[in-house]
Symmetry: C2
Subunit: 399 residues, 2 copies
């Protein structure tokens, strides 16, 4: 048979993919598995979102415009305004999820073989998007000791080559929960301007910041209109991951117009979910207050319980609903697999995501895991108890 492409066959699998068979086997044994490994919120999608879909009033499920419904784009202008992000609806291109927003942006700003600088650990699917776009991710390492703050500017500058096209961040960050400060954003702005780079900011967790922290958008930066590109999605905001509705927002109209060509090739984003997303902008403020309070409580409990476990290092996340924890184990891959295969408390166990898959530099994150706090408080306490018990008896424990 003809061989497959190198790009596809060499693409790294998802960090949890190899664990899935072990999770399935555990479940087949009747064991309950607490999933701390995925970013699927358990929060209800707002009623206004559902209602708009239910009242679609259509007989034909037609194509929408390639750029997304104009009414939705105009509604998003209102939404962004409420976060002090001032844009016109022409600055917004609706995409099929935040994933497509990233792929279209990479394809629009970079040629095959170009480089994008990304602080690691980073959302692993960036690897897949980079492979699809033929772009190389050049990591700059942020460390758990520094609570995953932005690495020194010098470490970014020394990675810049004539193939570098952009710096891309995720803010609030998946997988670390870190929220870049205004000072860090200004530093990135400086780097972008001095090196004529694009600054891409994945801001899908905008709503999720704690302790009164204010989120700084890349579109809050002055003098960066041609270079700042924000990537967004309704997945987390409205707990609507299955909707596949995202967008690219930039004041650089050439980027929108060019990305729209890719948009025209794929015709349109899903029609019905755009109706939901448009209505979602009118979600009651109370919904977000409750959701945020729920996540904050979960975070506090989780961090508290993690800190009670001997040898565990876990910076307090300021945003999103993830954290990276260093565990006193030989190898987080093996530990995660062991939890699923060889460990249980009252026939229950937990699944965590080994963090090495979130690093691009080989060897990093070997004793770290990413934990998503997308379980209710009772389940989360139970899952933390199982993790603590597991750490006590895991054969590869290091303390």
């Amino acid at each position: 048979m003809p061989s497959l492409s190198r790009r596809a066959t060499t693409m790294p699998p998802s960090p949890i993919r190899k664990l899935v068979p072990f999770a399935d086997a555990a479940k087949a044994k009747g064991r309950h598995v607490y999933h701390l490994n995925i970013g699927q919120p358990d929060i209800k999608t707002p009623e206004v979102f559902w209602n708009a879909i239910m009242n679609h009033g259509r007989e034909v499920l037609e194509y929408g415009p390639s750029a997304g419904f104009t009414s939705y784009r105009k509604k998003l202008v209102e939404y962004y305004k409420s976060y002090d992000i001032n844009v016109d609806y022409e600055n917004i291109l609706i995409t099929t999820g935040g994933s497509e927003a990233i792929i279209f942006t990479l394809m629009t700003i970079a040629n095959h073989g170009d480089e994008i600088i990304v602080p690691e650990p980073f959302y692993t699917n960036y690897n897949g998007f980079a492979v699809e776009a033929g772009v190389k991710i050049v990591p700059i390492t942020s460390s758990i000791e520094e609570e995953f703050q932005l690495p020194p500017l010098e470490s970014i500058r020394e990675k810049i080559t004539d193939r570098t096209r952009a710096v891309m961040i995720c803010n609030p960050n998946n997988p670390t929960g870190y929220v870049y400060s205004r000072e860090e954003m200004l530093a990135l702005r400086e780097i972008a301007i001095e090196n004529d780079l694009f600054l891409l900011s994945d801001e899908v967790y905008r709503e999720f910041t704690y302790d009164g922290l204010k989120h700084t958008s890349v579109l809050h930066m002055h003098g960066l209109d041609k270079q700042a590109v924000m990537l967004d999605s309704v997945s987390k905001r409205y707990s609507a991951c299955g909707a596949r509705v995202g967008c690219i927002v930039t004041r650089n109209q050439e980027i929108i117009d060019t990305a729209l060509k890719f948009g025209m090739a794929r015709l349109c984003p899903p029609t019905l979910e755009q109706l939901g997303a448009e209505a979602g902008v009118d979600t009651d403020a109370e919904y977000f207050r409750e959701v945020l309070e729920e996540y904050r409580e979960r975070r506090d409990i989780m961090v508290h319980l993690l800190h009670e476990m001997p040898g565990v290092v876990a910076p307090n996340p300021k945003g999103a609903f993830y954290l990276i924890a260093r565990l006193p184990v030989d190898d987080a891959d093996k530990f995660a697999q062991w939890l699923l295969s060889d460990f249980q408390v009252d026939d229950e166990t937990v699944m965590v995501a080994p963090a090495n898959g979130f690093y691009s530099t080989p060897g990093l994150g070997q004793d770290e895991v990413r934990i998503a706090y997308v379980l209710n408080v009772e389940d989360l306490k139970r899952a933390m108890h199982i993790l603590a018990e597991g750490l006590k008896v895991y054969p590869g424990k290091t303390i």
Copy 2:
């Protein structure tokens, strides 16, 4: 500002894009425009499809599996069986529309710089997908005089280089309405085997064949299990273009597994529409009988009226709901624009797609247009009347 990528800026726009401002201007003048330029069916989406979406019974619009819902994949096995296509559900990867099925397949089988042979005229969005995948489309020309049948095998053989990875067809064909015969499919099979190539077949118009013609799927071919890849979508079948649900079907499990990596990066296809598509498999046979009868009647009327226009050449399409017509005009681009800007009958006009955008070889299709018969019979008659009147007085007419 940093410059954009060559791939994006050099990507050809949709062939009707430059006409859109003229159509908008015509409408702004209060003129009614009959759209013969798009493949958006006016047929109602089946009730079972809508009902499944309306009865989703969910509180959280969650991610589905990256490969699509297993229940839907299993249901598709039944659907394909009814077309004598025997596959397992593991042979099916659900995608976000047929568009993503094509992009994932190209990325899976070809590296940057590889070549894909495609008979022209072809669906213009293949250009966009090729640019995204970094693949070069090498056209083999089918001609209106030969009713767009497959060009001689020799013309395919002479285009094969060491970078050629596949031959890709659309069957039934958009934009020509041609349906490849069993003999033509066997010839393509021969080419694929003798040159160790993949054979990709976009079969989204499977349901739409006329005059008792039987559609031959690439998956009907024997001895081609590793090489045959079928690309599909529910858009046309259920008049559900806005659903964005398609699939890749191949018995080459390595292709499915590899494409799934791209699928995992983008997380999942839209959740709700998969429920609709799954239920759609149970659409009453009567629905398709009526739809097909409707399209056949439209085709007959349209072809009859086109053949009454002096100097018009229009092969009778055997499938899909398009045809290519040669018009007695100097330039179809100019004519299409003139229809929108300078012509009307009782304040109505028509919009057609100039066919040069469907050819990859420069200079071809200059006096051809693609017409989609997605209007009801009365509107179609009216649109044909306007076209006929326009041809009589167009300043650039050639007879």
